[in-house]
Amino acid sequence: MTSAVLRAQGLGKRYRRRWALSECTLDIPAGRVVGLVGPNGAGKTTLLHLATGLLQPTRGTIEVLGGRPAAGPAQLARVGFVAQDTPTYAGMTVDDHLRLGARLNPGWDAAMARDRIERLGLDPRQRAGKLSGGERAQLALTLAIAKKPELLILDEPLASLDPLARREFLQGLMEATVDQGLSVVLSSHLVADLERVCDYLIVLVASRVQVAGEVEQLLATHHLLTGPRRDLATLPAGQQVISASHTDRQTTLTVRVGTPILDPAWTVSPVGLEDLVLAYMSRTTKADRKPLLEVQR
């Protein structure tokens, strides 16, 4: 029954005095490409490091594929990770990295790794330190994919890539995902990066999960309402205001509702993913920082 790739309960991580992540409760189903969005410093890396076992939680629990992160070789084998800035050994060649992957991972798919490197046009004798940012990211991705994980975690893999490299990287990622039936979690501070590839979204702002759910569901339950200026207290109970802006005459709201909006005073229009995320990000600048419940599936 444990079809969850990642399950967190009251998860928190504190560095000295500062909470980098707090009260994080998530239940991510398998087989999704999950986008983890939030501004820089929101706690994305902390969450991903907790999921890979690079960090231990200060509070709460986290389970990845039903096990404790980095609990042992078996658990390590099931999770592939591409860290931020896609670190590789600068003095080692591309070929050395493939050999590293083969030596350190019993499930290593050597043919697939070689094939990927060949298709990418990387010179196996090239030192990793001499590769471009995009090539290095591809090498790191190859290492993570060829160990044949069930879950692939990528921390801001696109941050340092130019637009073309971004597209190629995402393309490679999507091919591998489809081929291997991988679950993927990738983080970014830009929604635009994730919009095309993700079917599940987590918005993390100021160390808290603001919203998490299937992209389709999120888009179906969030609306942009425009109408004559109005006091927010007069809204029906089922409508939760995510962001609001007012002019003298007009009120614009991003709301989350379970039922259709019937009030004829509003002009209802759909919300794009980017606007939705921005609405949640701007919301946290206000006093209300309570995390929302996850979207019901």
């Binding site: 860290a83 030596r103 290492l143």
Partner: protein, 329 residues
């Protein structure tokens, strides 16, 4: 993991192995010549009554090489700690490659065990080969000096340098993972290692084994100086005990009751009459008290010192493992 450790350290290993090989060749050529020279001059000098000349001629042989070997054996254990130990983890943390290494199918404990274990053994082996070569090559000189426990020589011979290398390496690794930057960690490693070496040599080593305190009547033949203090005209006597190769902490002359105040000097000693003066001194029934470590304790000291340094290294390694188990990202 063994392959990765080798891949990451092969250049440094080959450089050190190459340097040791060059030194081995030089010492292998000059060493037998030294032994031959020793056997034909110093060993037979008593028969020709020219020992001082023979010894002087011999000890000035290969002066540059004597200096170089002495320098190498002093600095190599520390350098191995700085250049092999410090970057071992610090460089991974700096380049963030530990995030790559720790998410392969290898636990952090195993990663550290192989990396730390193999490189530590390599640096101990390098120091061991060096001290073996230097100890062998220097043995004719050491036989002439005959002061194996002398602080200047003790730490450059025997097995102690292996302990120094183990400690310096573990210290470097620990400094690297705490400071997380290679260059500052190197500086800290050098400072701490030099401090520990100095503290050990100047203070701790003398307390490892309780010295022997020998009290005996003053042996006139070992008396090397008679003095008269001004003012006070007190007698002072110095002796050089006949303890070949011993490490002498102190050598004192006291009265029969144990006082270091020997009283007013006998009259004969004021008039530059050595025979009468010596006779007068012998009638005082003075005692000589020598505190020393006999040469026979050389290997006990070597083993103790090596064991303490290795134990320190193991304690630091234990700390590194507990660090790896806690999480660092």
């Amino acid at each position: 993991m063994i392959w990765l450790t080798w891949r990451q350290s092969r250049v440094q290993t080959l450089v050190v192995a190459g340097a040791l090989a060059i030194l081995a060749v030089i010492l292998a050529i000059t060493g037998p010549q030294l032994v031959h020279l020793y056997d034909t001059t110093v060993a037979t000098c008593h028969a020709h009554h020219d020992c001082q000349i023979a010894i002087n001629a011999f000890t000035s042989r290969d002066g540059a090489l004597q200096n170089i070997t002495s320098f190498l054996i002093q600095v190599v254990p520390g350098l191995l700690g700085v250049f092999w130990g410090t970057p071992l983890i610090a460089r991974e943390l700096e380049a963030r490659t530990h995030r790559l290494a720790w998410t392969q199918t290898v636990t952090r404990g195993r990663w550290l065990a192989v990396k730390l274990g193999l490189t530590a053994l390599a640096s101990m082996a390098a120091a061991g080969l060096l001290t073996l070569m230097v100890t062998w090559w220097s043995s004719p000189f050491d036989r002439i000096m005959n002061s194996p426990l002398d602080p200047g020589v003790f730490s450059e011979r025997g097995i102690a340098p292996i302990g120094y290398a183990a400690f310096a390496f573990a210290l470097g690794v620990t400094a690297g993972l705490l400071i997380r930057r290679t260059v500052p960690a190197m500086a800290v490693t050098v400072a701490v290692f030099a401090g520990v070496q100095a503290a050990f040599g100047l203070w701790l080593r003398a307390h490892l084994i309780a010295p022997i305190r020998a009290v005996s009547p003053l042996i006139m033949g070992q008396m090397t100086g008679v003095g008269i203090t001004t003012p006070g005209n007190h007698l002072s006597v110095s002796v050089t005990p006949n303890l070949p190769g011993a490490w002498i902490y102190s050598s004192q002359v006291t009265t029969a009751t144990g006082s270091t105040n020997l009283g007013t000097a006998p009259q004969a000693c004021f008039h530059n009459l050595p025979h009468l003066c010596n006779g007068a001194i012998s009638r005082l029934h003075l005692l000589q008290i020598v505190t020393y470590q006999p040469a026979s304790r050389y290997w006990a000291f070597q083993w103790y010192e090596t064991a303490i340094y290795v134990a320190l290294a193991l304690a630091l390694a234990g700390f590194c493992f507990s660090w790896a188990r806690r999480s660092v990202s």
